[in-house]
């Protein structure tokens, strides 16, 4: 298969904005958990959440131009600008650039706001602005409009498998020569709806910290953010790392074979039932890490995993796993291959194998 490389990274999350903030949070194992207040049948409750700040977007886009842009699209815009800047492509000719965005849930705050307009105002008062911005590809549209990206654009929504699924198609675009680079990213937001669903499923006792491998505890904490990568074919130039393969499938088709010479980067996020599947899938004693407690539980976290792996491979050094006690061996001192593993539902899986250049 065509080998891809990661040329640029743009990240925004609860840890802060940009590669340096992300790297220091990973190095320190620092989790910055905030909260969101949600109305419930029993009054307003506070739900722990990893919140992202998009104020840094004003470095790239005038505040006035962002008046009608919702939080979901702002996150995507911030991730996009940061990734292109990191790759040295801001201001460059983007004529051969494709855009691929993955999102588990889309613009949930705007979707809910549209419903609110329908409910509170009646059938004749639905908000056209909210409706137009609630379409899943609104973030891709805003990124394309603001940055002037006129190549192919794709938005994928496959819930927890959104990121690896979208990566399959991004890789094909590059393999077939449709584009010379792909701005690939993932975005999800914390909204009242997402927080309320979290509260209903796991409340009222919310944990203060994620412990993804504590099989007895429901410890997921919702997160939001954007993680974008600039991907190109391997041209021998400088880059963070290579992406050697992307595999998606389900275990009832058999065939989930994991490499034994790579650090396993696990997407466990505190959901008990999923945590058990990771424990069953990866051999005890394997070299593994899980960085989800740095950015929180969200479908887009899979792209943060890829960004973290890219940084680790560039440094040649894995970050210590902040995931708490687990049945896995400590991280190796040096790392040259990382396999990002994502599990979803009762049977779906995805692996992304990345390597040092």
């Amino acid at each position: 298969m065509t080998r891809l490389v990661v040329k640029g990274i743009g990240v925004a999350g609860a840890f802060g904005t940009g590669v340096e903030s992300f790297q220091s949070a990973l190095a320190e194992g620092r989790a910055t958990v905030g909260s969101v207040e949600v109305a419930t049948g029993e009054g307003v409750v506070t739900v722990p959440a990893y919140r992202a700040d998009t104020a840094a977007l004003e470095e790239f886009v005038p505040k006035r131009a962002l008046r009608r842009v919702d939080n979901y699209s702002k996150l995507a815009l911030l991730g996009s600008y940061l990734a292109l800047k990191d790759a040295g492509m801001l201001g460059a000719d983007l004529g051969r650039l494709g855009l691929v965005i993955a999102s588990g849930y889309g613009a949930t705050a705007t979707t809910y706001a549209f419903l609110d307009s329908l409910i509170s105002g009646g059938d004749t008062c639905a908000s056209p602005t909210h409706f137009a911005n609630s379409v899943h590809n609104a973030a891709a549209a805003n990124v394309a409009i603001t940055l002037g990206i006129r190549g192919p654009s794709l938005t994928v929504s496959q819930f927890d498998m959104s990121v690896p699924s979208a990566l399959v198609s991004a890789r094909q675009w590059l393999a077939e020569g449709r584009v010379d680079a792909v701005l690939f990213g993932a975005v999800d937001e914390v909204s009242e709806l997402v927080a309320y669903l979290q509260h209903r499923r796991y409340g009222p006792r919310h944990v203060a910290a994620m412990a993804p491998f504590d099989a007895g505890t429901e410890s997921s904490i919702i997160g939001e953010g954007a993680a974008f990568l600039v991907l190109t074919r391997d041209d021998g130039g400088t880059a963070y790392c290579g992406i050697d393969s992307v595999e998606t499938g389900n275990v009832f088709g058999g065939g989930l074979s994991l490499p034994d010479d790579a650090l396993m980067l696990l997407g466990a996020d505190g959901r008990k039932e999923l945590g058990r599947r990771y424990l069953d899938t990866v051999a005890a004693g394997a070299t593994a890490a899980c960085y989800t407690p740095i950015y929180g539980s969200m479908p887009a976290a899979a792209a943060f995993d890829l960004a973290a792996a890219a940084l680790a491979l560039k440094n040649g050094q894995a970050f210590a796993s902040p995931a708490g006690p687990g049945p896995f061996a400590p991280d190796s001192a040096g790392v040259s291959r990382i396999c990002s593993l994502r599990l979803a539902g009762p049977s779906e899986y995805a692996t992304v194998l990345m390597s040092k250049l």
Binding site: G106, T108, D123, A126, N137, S153, S157, Q158, T248, N250
Partner: protein, 393 residues
């Protein structure tokens, strides 16, 4: 840039024009359509905007209607391709489905109850999370290949077919089920009314008196197959995906670029895939929604890029089925190319002097070997598929 063709061996469709592909074609060739105010949901809006509902189809309670429609069309397409369940299990089968509402967390009843201070049952949300259209098809037919739900608004179905063809070419899967699916409900209905782009009478694509679109629902699915698998099975190709192109306008969230910049680029890419000249295309299934903006831009691009090539819109028979439209229209394009007969554009009566051309008024026999289907979408997404004639029956 040349990309080799990918065989299409099965078609499936369910929409207001019919519950199967043959039923739909009968409606199209007879010029039959029946838009009417919604019956499946209520609205207090004073204007009863006509829609194209699928009336005789009921989804199981545990699934979104979108996904149930998708499975129905996929089942027909697989049967048409001659695949048994056992045969499929031995292959790496991918699923790529376009939709607009199939993965949105937007249940009105849930939101209404939450807003009223109640603790609503979580079932509607769980149903959404269990109804991702591509994942539902994969579960229904035990597909083990890549699985992707494309949410490129109204171009989603077209993109899904183009992407699936690329997966086959790349060896990522042996067989792919690809297309689009979308249901119609209160949220979409009132959302489009709020944008003031719906017609309060049956839609009239490309007509002088067009006032907007009518919404519809349904699903259109195609089975794509690698040459190795097809040769082993001795399966007949009904058509081939010869080209696919897509490009973004980068212009406006809901309006197309006035010069059709992205559409032109998408057409150019699709034709370049197999080095085809525009005059080799024997007809175009246009997006043709009936909105003033879309039809103005699209007719201009068609007149300039495809002078003299007949084009039609099938939305007069189906309504605008949003994420399903690209899948349904891909099915129609393939079936019409195969039969050599292109239906006229229902709803078109009076040529618009401001448009550069006019669509087919009645059915037209064609003998060419290539046809195009194109989609324009919110967000400035433009996608184009080029189909080639398949093996002789």
């Amino acid at each position: 840039m040349t990309r080799w063709p990918v065989a299409i061996t099965g078609l499936g469709c369910i929409c207001a024009a019919g519950g199967t592909v043959p039923e739909c074609l009968d409606s199209l060739y007879a010029g039959r359509r029946a838009p009417a105010p919604p019956e499946r949901f209520v609205s207090s809006h004073p204007t009863p905007f006509p829609v194209f509902e699928v009336r005789d189809f009921r989804e199981p309670p545990e699934l979104l209607r979108t996904s149930a429609l998708a499975v129905q069309a996929a089942r027909e397409a697989l049967a048409d391709a001659g695949f048994s369940a056992a045969e499929l299990r031995g292959l790496r089968v991918g699923v790529c489905v376009g939709t607009t509402v199939g993965s949105a967390l937007n249940d009105e009843g849930f939101c209404r109850a939450h807003r009223a201070g109640e603790e609503p049952n979580l079932f509607p949300m769980e149903r959404i999370l269990n109804s991702n259209p591509a994942a539902v098809i994969a579960r229904a037919f035990d597909c083990t290949g890549p699985c992707q739900t494309v949410v490129n608004a109204c171009a989603s179905g077209t993109d899904a077919v183009g992407l699936a063809a690329s997966w086959i070419r790349g060896g990522i899967c042996d067989v792919a089920i690809a297309g689009g699916a979308d249901e119609l409900g209160r949220i979409t209905y009132h959302g489009f009314i709020s944008l003031m782009i719906t017609d309060d009478s049956p839609c009239k694509p490309f007509d002088r008196d067009r006032k907007g679109l009518n919404l519809g629902e349904g699903a259109g699915m195609l089975v794509l197959e690698s040459e190795q698998v097809r040769a082993r099975r001795g399966a007949r190709a009904r058509s081939f995906v010869m080209g696919y192109g897509s490009a973004c306008d980068a212009y406006h969230l809901t309006a197309p670029h006035p010069e059709g910049a992205g559409l032109r680029q998408a057409v150019a890419e699709a034709l370049a895939c197999c080095a085809v000249a525009p005059d080799q295309v024997c007809f175009v299934n246009a997006h043709g929604t009936g909105t003033p903006d879309n039809d103005r831009v699209e007719s201009r691009v068609l007149a300039e890029l495809f002078p003299g090539v007949p084009y039609h819109s099938t939305k007069g028979y189906t309504g605008h089925t949003l994420g399903a439209a690209g899948g349904i229209e891909a099915v129609f394009t393939v079936a019409c190319l195969e039969r050599g007969l292109v239906p006229g554009s229902a709803g078109f009566a009076n040529a618009d002097p401001e448009l550069a051309g006019e669509p087919l008024r009645g059915n037209l026999e064609v003998t060419g070997g290539l046809a195009l289907s194109q989609s324009l979408a919110f967000g400035g997404s433009n996608s184009v598929l080029l189909f080639g004639k398949g093996d002789a029956a």
